[in-house]
Amino acid sequence: MDLVKETIGAFPTYLILYLSFAAAILLFARAARGKVRLVRRGQPEDRTDHTGRRVTGLFGYVLFQRRLPKYKIAGLMHMLIFWGFLVFALGYAFIVFTGGELQERFAGIGGGAIADVYSTFQELFGVLVVLSVVVAAFRRHVLKVRRLEINRDADLVLLLIFLIMTSHFLTQGLALNLGAGYGWTPVSRALAGLLAGFSDARGLHVGVWWIHLFLIFGFLAYLPASKHLHIFFGPFNVYFRSLRPAGEVPLIDIETAERFGAERIEDFTWKSLFDLLSCAECGRCQDHCPAYDTDKPLSPKRLLIDLKHQLFESAEGDDAGEHAPLAGGAIEEDVIWSCTTCRACQEQCPILIEHVEKIIELRRYLSLMEGRFPNEAKLAFKNLETNYNPWTIGWAERAGWAEGLDLETLGEGGETDVLLWVGCAGAFDDRNKKVVRALVGLARGAGVEMAHLGTDERCCGDPARRLGNEYLYQMLAQENVETLRGRTFNRIVTTCPHCLNTLAAEYPQLGGGFEVVHATSFLDELLREGRIRPTERVQAIVGFHDSCYLGRYNGLYEPPRRVLRSIPGITLREPKRNRRSSFCCGAGGGRMWLEESIGTRINHRRIQQVAETGPEIVASGCPYCLTMFEDGIKETERSDQLRALDVIELLAQSVKPS
């Protein structure tokens, strides 16, 4: 018996159904279209390449909810609600398009197996969804989980889902009393028992069913005004995700561009704006943000919400033109400069929103259009311009670190196997010079032919680019690309993940397609080939810190660990937040060159985290991290308990000098 069909079968009922459905759809479509129109005000960007890969991503990230499981309860909850939604959506679609229930349509096939299975699934997921929603409300209102805000939208969504599910169970219970029903439905049966007394079961069923339906339609119409719209936009967001290397920032054509960076909301690309509409305000980005964690005004979630509001506001009063620039207006400057570009936010986001690029665009506006940035950056920029390093040190001294090493300087036209890219820290900072020298020693011992650029090497440009000074970055990068192209080598090895990232992922934009390898990967390779033999015991418990630009940006979690494990006597003790959820040292995003005056220190927080598991040494593969840890250890007075070392140094300690 197809109760649904009966309910809606007669005129004018089905007319009411379809009209109200049409109305809901229209309202939804109009509102959604309005949002999409807003998005289209953004700048063009091609996100349609690699269709195959994009579609495959949908399976992983959307259908299988790839980023959710690690969140345990919250993740499970969401997966259940999502899959529950899919199960029910199938049934509703059937009703709308065929005018009858799915179970009834397939009742004759396979002895009713399909009908039974589907009903069972509905029952199962119905229960799970209700439980999940209750748990969700509990977490939001009772546990008051930090990243979950209490607002009407969130509550309304949970309430609607709850009501839709309970009204579903009610209709099922009533239907059972009327003789309809398939599959294993214990809850519905229990309800049926409770409702058995009602005289006009049919009338009640119809009534509850319509309520159920209008709840659904109402939800549909409400969606565009809610963060729950992420169920619609989210999959598109995943589809249109960036397939570029993680560390690649878009190139500005300085000669032709009239505007630099994002002054107004329309200066962002359409995809960047699409991100804003896809955000479910889950707050996981905020949870993992080192700036937010140390009381800076930056919250990635807040940034997205604020930008979204700006997008909506820009629709009103349209070309009224006189909107104040975002940076310094709707978005505080401190918010913009607090970011370390660590990418923890992006790594966590279940629908792959790209937070960092928005910060970079806002910084570009401030740096390039206004020349306005923290004062310390001015000096760093001037130094980069005139002496090709952020410190106030003459460029002629860049090769001083190699004194006594007799390392070949590769001139124009020169050839070598491995080109050592030293980086500014390795070249000028006493502490980091030791690391580069250690690398040279190890490479020599392994019989590797290696040379460096001497004073022809300039800063890779990462600090300039990350602080928004694209012009200065391009000046440095173009010179470096030319210098590199004038030499022949098999690959570049560098100790600095920022140099690694810029040379490998970003120099191709300017004509430089070089093979670049991080020193720890290089050493890992040599170890596996047996060309380096760590024979001396280094007895120590080591906490390895995953540097942002080595780990999250370039996926290099295991090579440095393998190097450490190859050293006899070393025991690895992982910090709680490791690999993808590692916590930044605070120096990325050009912040190495800025003062940290708000809140507490990011490097102090990280040292605390690493120290929790009681290692004697905190090891990393990045000169910034090393510097921040040296400072952090001293400042938190842990000098007696903890030492900071680079992985390369530890390996060097274990290798007998040849």
Binding site: I254, F260, L368, K378, T386, N387, W395, A396, Y471
Partner: protein
């Protein structure tokens, strides 16, 4: 109001400076040149006055070789309106006083209510051009200015001037030459659109004959006889031992060797 800013194109302060083997000068090969840091304060001050309102034109002027256009463009990117390049090989052979003569000749052809220049150039460290220029133009000068306020009518200025251990507050009638000191303002970092515009700006170039100057007029009165390196830093003398002895030795060294006390 018309403001003229005199600037110089000089090697960056971190550059490695070495005398030529024959001691005739400093090796300039491979040096990076920038706008003289003290002149940046002058340019910034002029642009600030312009931005404060009123009809103000800022002209930046330099005596320098071809490459000096880079510094002129830096000044334009900061906000200067016009640039004049006094470019003639003969100009480069004169000294500070001669440079003042050349500048005076050029500036006299321009309208000016205020002339600003850095207190000294970080290459020759002469600190002469400003006051000498004022003398040749017959106008007042105040050197090492750390604060500048124009009176409403643009005919007077109140300036703060740095002395040893004190600040002098003076009133100065305009036009006048003021030489600028660190602390006068925070020179801006030029915005990229300004940098791009400055690249395309046309610079007026004048040589000796265009100025109607005969070489005698600006012939150098000083001549450099030799350029050498200072005695190498005795670097890193570690004093160890009994505290009282060590500090006495330190004081002695500061007095007699470093000649600081």
């Amino acid at each position: 109001m018309n403001i003229v800013v005199c600037v110089k194109h000089v090697p960056d302060t971190e550059a490695a400076i070495k005398p030529l083997p024959d001691g005739s000068g400093v090796a300039t090969e491979g040096l990076n040149y920038v706008l003289n840091p003290y002149d940046e304060f002058a340019v910034e001050e002029a642009v600030k006055i312009k931005e404060a309102g009123g009809d103000t034109q800022v002209t930046v002027i330099t005596v320098g070789p071809d490459g000096a256009t880079k510094s002129l463009r830096t000044a334009i990117a900061m906000g200067a309106d016009e640039a004049v390049h006094l470019n003639d090989p003969v100009f480069l052979e004169t000294d500070a006083q001669g440079t003042a003569v050349i500048l005076a000749a050029a500036i006299q052809t321009l309208p000016f209510d205020l002339i600003l220049c850095g207190k000294q150039a970080v290459d020759d460290d002469c600190a002469q051009v400003g006051p000498a220029l004022a003398e040749l133009l017959g106008i007042p000068s105040v050197s090492v200015v750390t604060q500048l306020e124009l009176e409403g009518d643009g005919k007077k200025a109140t300036v703060h001037r740095e002395l040893e251990g004190a600040t002098e507050v003076l009133e100065c009638t305009l036009p006048a030459v003021l030489t600028t000191q660190k602390g006068l303002n925070e020179p801006r970092y030029p915005a990229l659109p300004m940098i791009m515009k400055a690249k395309r700006k046309e610079i007026r170039t004048l040589d000796a004959s265009a100025l109607g100057l005969s070489p005698d007029a600006f012939a150098p009165r000083t001549e450099t006889v030799e350029v050498s390196s200072p005695p190498p830093r005795q670097g890193g003398r570690i004093l160890e031992g009994d505290v009282a002895e060590v500090v006495r030795e330190a004081v002695r060294l500061l007095k007699e060797e470093a000649k600081l006390l």
